[in-house]
Symmetry: C2
Subunit: 603 residues, 2 copies
């Protein structure tokens, strides 16, 4: 009986699959919640997966009936009918998952004076006649300008493409949406103007629909970034995009289609029409920004990592393929450098009230790339740290993302190991906050040395010639395998946390400041919100400061996107933040390697 | 032996086709120059035609080899292999024609101070490095603004999509093309900025490529408007577009693809690249304008005939599908009303130096729709006359467009009829100027009465129960049929010329002026350039004035497009002309029917 490695994406669960178990059985054993309505009889679409890599059994008759030849060609299969005969990478579409992944949607409250870039006006005109032959467009624009004392000059071409039948169906009463000097949408007199704010992460996408006239969030939703199938980290995605322009277009289409689905869901939840979405703000890191816009990325992927553009952009939604109101724009906040993007600017914008007026603040957004800013009396210096995907569960033996069954809290006690899982169900693996907790506990209890070496302990065993600490033994779990933290896992975490800590240390050194002077540490991002600060300090990922100096602010990038959506003066503020930032390239910093090695130690 | 009616488009030649002659033989007999390289053996693509309507023999083996199933499905055939067995409409693609149609390209000379909307700047920047991390876009725009004291703020998204590899391939030396505050193209330091001017007629399209820095015309070309296959006149095309949005899109695609081919040819002739075309101006009548932009047309097709928009437009070329420089715009001159379009504005712009300062001027552009303006000391009043397609040869028994073999000049002498054909070859039919000449001669010699009745004459015969005048008898021609002017042809011309003359008369009546006060009559358009003014006056199409008051100005709409391409102040001028025009709806004019009936008389 052979067994192969299988990697379920985008949930990020890896494990062994035997050749006598179906992909569905394997997924369930590994804790990946694939829907199975017909109980594995291959009679429904529900356990649809896509084989991205590797070799499998041939499609069954059921599957041939179930899928189009095109779908079969693209690797679509029913998990319950499929057996693998090599290492495989399998995509589980969102609709096949029983439990959605935990995506951070909430964060700071919004408190902003409304100055949306799009205003709406109710306009009523007389209908044309043989004695009043004015064209439809001019009829509206002249009335609008006269009545509201505006100087609107343009009507978007896509608005013009619908204007004549619409005005007649509205009986010449209409709501006109104006951005600068341009009409970007018209609607019935009842139509409202809503805006879309998106935090486009490498792994996750958070979307919000806001009422532009009240500032209220009408709906919110989180989805996975589907580009993850083409590479988990930024560099592998950029590499994919560089292979051909068709591949770059494919990556763009994947994410745009995801945004279109997300927007449709948000609208449906809020009971508004797509055409009522008259503005969008999207924030992401520089690579996500470039891949979304299909900008060139080769110069971004290689030293000195130059963006194609760094300033804020206003682009017609149609030029990206986003289906909202006909003439609507997408606003993209400015990027700072190749690896410090608009999402970090958005985070700094959202937390401005926290850091403004303080003497010394550290603000960080932890992810596969961690951006760190040091704010010295309002003057900002930023670095980017390659912290890698370990906190997302990758390269960790029993790592997984924060979905149901992931251990997210760990406590070592005299009796053994206490833990808590996402969803409170039986454990299937470890997510980032669980790993940090576990390693902190192991370090504090002496199982791991300052240098990261795993010492002897009743729960430490040698498995496959490697040392590992049994968090949940086979016996405790009731079935193999044990959930463990391996010596190699410890090394991965040392590299990840060392990258972050060395970024902080380089910034302090650069500005001649000491750790103790830090008044506040702002921690943004989904992962940053779930970690136990005590543990992060214990392993030396974060500076050793009183706990009340730390503030976990949730998805601050999303909040920043909302602020920019609701107020043009927030956009100006974001631009002046971005403009004022000094960026330091870590690799070019003196003694960086020494600082990094030092930062890898625990404690 | 049966025979059927066949209509060769877009050349507009109609005739009988016997069921024992191939379409190729019939075409040649009727004077339609279809290429036949293999001598009718069906061994080459050269006599390719498309059956638009009607029933034919089945495709031969040769044709099945020659065409794809898709092409066969769309009615593509080899003319030499095809026999018809019903009335047919056949499209002869331009590439299958031995002689291109005569399309008016030349006109007034251009005399304008260059103020093109797009300026070019040579910019050289240093390459980025670890100590100079500025993004590519900002690197260019900052240097540009500093060096030339500009305040450029935007870079078009499609320019950004190419900027990084381009700048590196240019070794950081580039020509930057700026329109208002936006970079719309970048090129190598050698690249030049050229512009495209297009007169988009219902039947014909004239295109010109101009050097924006010298104003010189680099190349010019005329093609047929391919939309003609969906209807010869404006109303039938609008009707087609109204049937479904897919059909409207089809009409748009047809014309845009024709413009793309035209532009590619113009560029190839002038040895410039498509990406060097940094601006386009397109003028057409309101319907062509709306169909090109895919604007709604239903309200344009029915009374009170309202355009979706009438002001000048600046639209990204990509939003129409025109493939030129990535960020380039198309400028569209303003329309005046449903049936007086931007082409008439362009004509008035081009002839401004002729009519400015004059006391009373008539300016007209003769076509299936004839626009007439009366300019009273600079104040312009316009009407649109439904003159119909008779001058294009339609609805005239032996009518055809002005291609080789069309009789274009006619003179009745004591000996018989003298005539002149396009290309100087044997006559095959009559084009518009030939028909006007013929009818004028018939009227002046008393063969036709003032009311349009055809009297007896040695050359008048009864054929198919109808009176007709033999211009070229079967004997003179050497083969049947005789080329004749029928009583019905006379009626068609009376309707057409009556429409034009009544437009002029309504304008004079409206302004309380008399015919004798007219100082100048400006006649624009291809057809208007070829007609014999004496004949047009003789039949009463034009007012009876001394011949030196008439001025034939060729394709003035094309010249107007060129002026608007080269100068923004000409664009302002066009807008103020359009804005100042009073439009009169003929049908709403008092006593219009009386005036029209009066205008149908000859003399």
């Amino acid at each position: 009986m052979a067994s192969y490695n299988v990697d379920f994406e985008p949930v990020g669960r890896r494990g062994k699959c035997r050749d006598d178990e179906s992909l569905l059985e394997c997924a369930h054993r590994l804790g990946v919640g694939i829907v199975s309505l017909c109980g594995g009889q291959g009679k429904s679409h529900c356990c649809k997966v896509q084989i991205l890599k590797g070799s499998t059994s041939k499609p069954t008759k059921n599957e041939i009936e179930c899928f189009s030849p095109e779908e079969l060609k693209n690797g679509y299969r029913l998990a319950c009918q499929t057996y693998i005969n090599s290492d495989c990478k399998v995509r589980v579409p969102l609709e096949s998952l029983t439990t959605p992944q935990r995506i951070q949607l909430e964060g700071l409250e919004i408190d902003v004076k409304l100055q949306p870039p799009v205003s709406s006006y109710y306009v009523q005109v007389s209908s044309p006649s043989m004695s009043d032959l004015q064209a439809d467009g001019e009829r509206i624009i002249e009335r609008l300008n006269r009545q509201f004392n505006l100087s609107c000059r343009k009507i978007d071409i896509d608005v013009l493409r619908g204007i004549s039948p619409l005005l007649r169906s509205f009986n010449w009463e209409t709501k006109v949406f104006v951005r600068d000097d341009e009409i970007i949408a018209i609607g019935s007199r009842q139509s409202s103007g809503v805006g879309l704010a998106v935090d486009l992460g490498t792994t996750k996408i958070a979307g919000y629909l806001l009422d532009l006239s009240s500032g209220k969030t009408l709906s919110s939703e989180g989805i996975m970034n589907p580009q993850i199938s083409y590479g988990e980290d930024i560099i592998s995605r950029l590499t994919y995009a560089m292979e051909s322009s068709a591949k770059a277009v494919k990556l763009q289409k994947e994410v745009v289609e995801a945004l279109n689905r997300l927007t449709a869901n948000l609208c449906s939840k809020a009971n508004v029409k797509l055409e009522e979405v008259v503005e969008a703000v999207i924030v992401g890191n520089t690579a996500m920004h470039h891949l979304l816009l299909n900008l060139p990325v080769k110069q971004l992927a290689f030293s000195p990592f130059i963006p194609a553009v760094q300033g804020a952009l206003d682009i017609k939604a149609r030029d990206v393929g986003l289906r909202i109101a006909p003439g609507a724009y997408i606003h993209l906040l400015p990027n700072i450098a190749g690896f410090v993007g608009a999402d970090h600017v958005a985070m700094l914008l959202a937390t401005k009230k926290i850091w403004e007026g303080e003497n010394l603040v550290i603000a960080l957004d932890i992810g596969t790339n961690t951006e760190v800013s040091l704010i010295d009396n309002g003057s900002i210096t930023s670095v980017s740290c390659a912290s890698g995907p370990a906190f997302e569960g990758a390269h960790i033996k029993h790592g997984m993302r924060a979905t149901d069954g992931a251990i997210e809290r760990v406590q070592l006690t005299e009796e053994g190991v206490e833990y808590q899982t996402v969803g409170g169900i039986a454990p299937v693996g470890l997510c980032g906050s669980g790993i940090i907790d576990a390693i902190a506990q192991l370090y504090l209890s002496g199982v791991i040395s300052k240098e990261g070496r795993m010492n002897d302990h009743p729960r430490v065993r040698i498995h496959d010639n490697k040392r590992e600490f049994m968090l949940v033994s086979e016996k405790e779990r009731g079935s193999p395998p044990a959930i463990t933290v391996t010596q190699e896992d410890v090394r991965e975490i040392q590299l990840a946390k060392g990258a972050i800590r060395s970024g902080i240390n380089v910034l302090l050194q650069e500005k001649g400041r000491s750790e103790e002077e830090i008044e506040k540490v702002i921690i943004a991002g989904a992962f940053g919100s779930y970690i136990n600060i005590k543990s992060a300090v214990a392993i030396g990922m974060l500076p050793s400061l009183p706990l009340d100096r730390f503030q976990q602010v949730g998805n601050a990038a999303g909040i920043g996107a909302k602020l920019a959506l609701l107020s043009t003066s927030e956009r100006h503020s974001a631009e002046s933040i971005a403009h004022g930032i000094s960026y330091i390239e870590l690799a070019a910093s003196p003694h960086y390697e020494d600082i990094f090695i030092e930062a890898m130690y625990f404690g």
